[in-house]
Amino acid sequence: MASLVGQIEDPLAGAVALAVAGDEAAFARIIRAHHDDMTRVCFLICSDLDLADEAVQSAWLIAWRKLKGLRDPARLRPWLVSVAANEARQILRRNRRTPVVEIAVMDSVMTGPDPAGRTGDLDLANAMARLHPDDRTLLALRYVAGFDSTELARATGRSPSGTRVRLARLLDRLRKDLGDD
């Protein structure tokens, strides 16, 4: 029974072992499970679908090469998402992209019937664009990937308490920027 619970909780543990051994199909199973999460996190960091795709593509190459170094398969998801987020930051750094003031909100967001909602989306996009990429990374990992403060600390190289403080300050700043205070 215990092993069954283990399988349910960690269905990709076997896939990791197989992928480490060079099994492409097993690697595809891992991609199927995590690609979407990684892309969403990267998009929030880059604000650009193409750059997000680049980051995730680079992340998969790193993952394939370094998967054997992953000691705990249960940590696969935070590890992959962290690698992707780091690639997104690296790409932004290489591009030296200047945050823009106005960002076109994507069609899928604009299709909603609520004009106030559209304005809110635009405000959020602009507020995000004004943040440092490291801060966007923190928000993406916390609110899109659902990292707890320990995972955030591992991913960002800060202490868990330092991460919480940073996150609290970020929330305060966003509340002001979005007129929610």
């Binding site: 492409e24 199909a25 690697f27 595809a28 199973r29 991609i31 199927r32 690609h35 979407d36 892309t39 969403r40 996190v41 990267c42 998009f43 929030l44 679908l49 193409d50 750059l51 997000a52 795709d53 680049e54 593509q57 998969w60 190459l61 394939w64 090469r65 790409i91 290489r94 591009n95 030296r96 992209r97 994507m106 899928s108 967001v109 809110g120 989306d121 959020l124 996009a125 995000m128 928000l139 993406a140 609110y143 899109v144 929330l171 966003l174 509340r175 929610d180």
Partner: protein
């Protein structure tokens, strides 16, 4: 505190909704295959392990290495070799014959794409392909030494319904054939099959002539011209049509037009840099002398509805516009076919224009423009025919124009008479960039 928690909850929802924009269908198996293939073909790097040794012996080895390095520097100085300079490939001294891939004149019938030899004073002769062979050939490219011809080949599609770039051809391949200097003898053939389905592939030779590069779907393939050993580099190309890419002059990198950016792929280790090139898609990528700049055409002008030729420095990403905006505010330019001379010091382009007044627009005659990259003003070269594709002669002394009117070369020197190579007997409507001129070395 409750307000803060409420805000955090709402923020999480809104961030999640924004991030959901990036959720799109994907093919996990294809991503896995591309990743694994790319990794398997990366250069093998052996880790250097220093053996344990006595300090005295280590110092002796270091001194020996230092002596060898000093000797190498001295030798390089004596031979006038600067190791920091990229390898210099010779520029042709003469212009040989011209190969063209052309479609049948009867649009909607016949087979698509055979390769013809074109030269002054003779009618065009078909040299590759024949009626009924069921094969399409396109994009011929002479090797830098002029001794080989590479081209794309595929099972011919049916009737021509749109421009060649969107043909849904199958059994795609790259072919490389040996070409005699004085004859048409094709005495050696290498073929490398590419996956089925998609536009015919267009090869580009590396400057050293040792390999050709093609873009197949979202991948850049670098194929050894002798052994067919292939390196696959994943890309993220989303633009439809024929993807544009260009080898750097030292052969170390390939620039790929990727929407509004230039992706510079370093061939040796497959790393890449993205160079922002503005807000609109770019085309006509070309490298300048010493790989100090990448020239391209993009939208621009005062209102952003015109087009410009720009050059960007791939090292610091600084850019310069090489064209002037029209003085008449009602005129907007439509620039295409930007080409850099073989020595990398001049650029030429086709400058069409459109005058728009009171809701209607009228096209003006296109002009052939050229200018040096040193800052001198652009000059117009008179051309007796319509302007389509543009190409420099291998020796850099003439420009070759292809259009539905035919194939004409014009000299850069004042008073040079244009040379008509074909009077429209070849259908070059879709063949603007499918002309190649054999380099000669005397």
């Amino acid at each position: 505190m409750t307000d803060r928690l409420d805000f955090e909850t709402r923020l999480a929802e809104r961030l999640g909704a924004r991030a959901a924009i990036a959720s799109r269908p994907f093919d996990a198996a294809a991503i896995a295959h591309a990743t694994v293939t790319s990794d398997a073909r990366r250069p093998f790097v052996r880790r250097l392990v220093w053996p344990s040794m006595r300090p005295g012996l280590a110092l002796l080895i270091l001194a020996g290495l230092l002596a060898i390095a000093l000797l190498a520097v001295a030798l390089a100085g004596a031979l006038h070799v600067n190791p920091l300079q990229p390898p210099a490939f010779p520029i042709a001294t003469g212009n040989g014959w011209i190969a063209v891939s052309a479609n049948p004149m009867d649009v909607g019938g016949g087979e698509n794409g055979d390769i013809y030899r074109v030269e002054v004073g003779s009618p065009a002769r078909r040299i590759i392909g024949s009626d009924g062979d069921g094969l399409a050939q396109a994009c011929p490219r002479f090797s830098p030494d002029g001794l080989w011809l590479a081209y794309g080949e595929a099972t011919a599609s049916g009737a021509v319904t749109t421009f060649r770039g969107n043909w849904p051809v199958t059994n795609r391949a790259v072919a490389i054939v040996r070409v005699g200097r004085e004859s048409l003898t094709l005495d050696d053939v290498h073929k490398h099959l590419a996956p089925d389905g998609g536009p015919i592939v267009c090869p580009e030779w590396s400057p050293d002539g040792k390999s050709v590069a093609v873009i197949v779907g979202p991948e850049l393939w670098i194929i050894d011209a002798k052994t067919a050993a292939t390196t696959v580099i994943p890309l993220t190309i989303t633009a439809p049509g024929k993807p544009e890419f260009e080898w750097s002059r030292d052969g170390s990198s390939i620039a790929v037009a990727q929407a509004v950016q230039i992706r510079v792929v370093h061939v040796a280790d497959q790393t890449f840099r993205l160079i922002p090139a503005g807000d609109t898609p770019i085309e006509s990528l070309q490298w300048t002398a010493g790989d100090r700049g990448i020239v391209f055409a993009a939208a621009g002008g005062p209102r952003g509805d015109s087009s410009v030729v720009r050059v960007v420095d791939p090292r610091d990403r600084s850019g310069t516009t090489l064209t002037l905006d029209p003085t008449d505010p009602a005129v907007r330019l439509d620039i295409h076919s930007v080409v850099v001379s073989p020595d990398g010091t001049r650029v030429a382009w086709v400058e069409g224009s459109l005058r728009c007044t009171a809701g209607s627009c009228a096209g003006l005659p296109a002009r052939l423009m050229t200018r040096a990259l040193d800052g001198s003003p652009a000059v117009e070269l008179p051309v007796p025919v319509g302007l389509g594709g543009l190409q420099w002669s291998p020796a850099g002394d003439r420009l070759l124009i292809s259009s539905t009117d035919g194939l004409v070369s014009v000299g850069l020197a004042a008073g040079t008479t244009p040379t008509v190579l074909s009077h429209g007997d070849l259908n070059l409507e879709w063949s603007w960039d499918e002309v190649t001129w054999q380099p000669l070395f005397r």
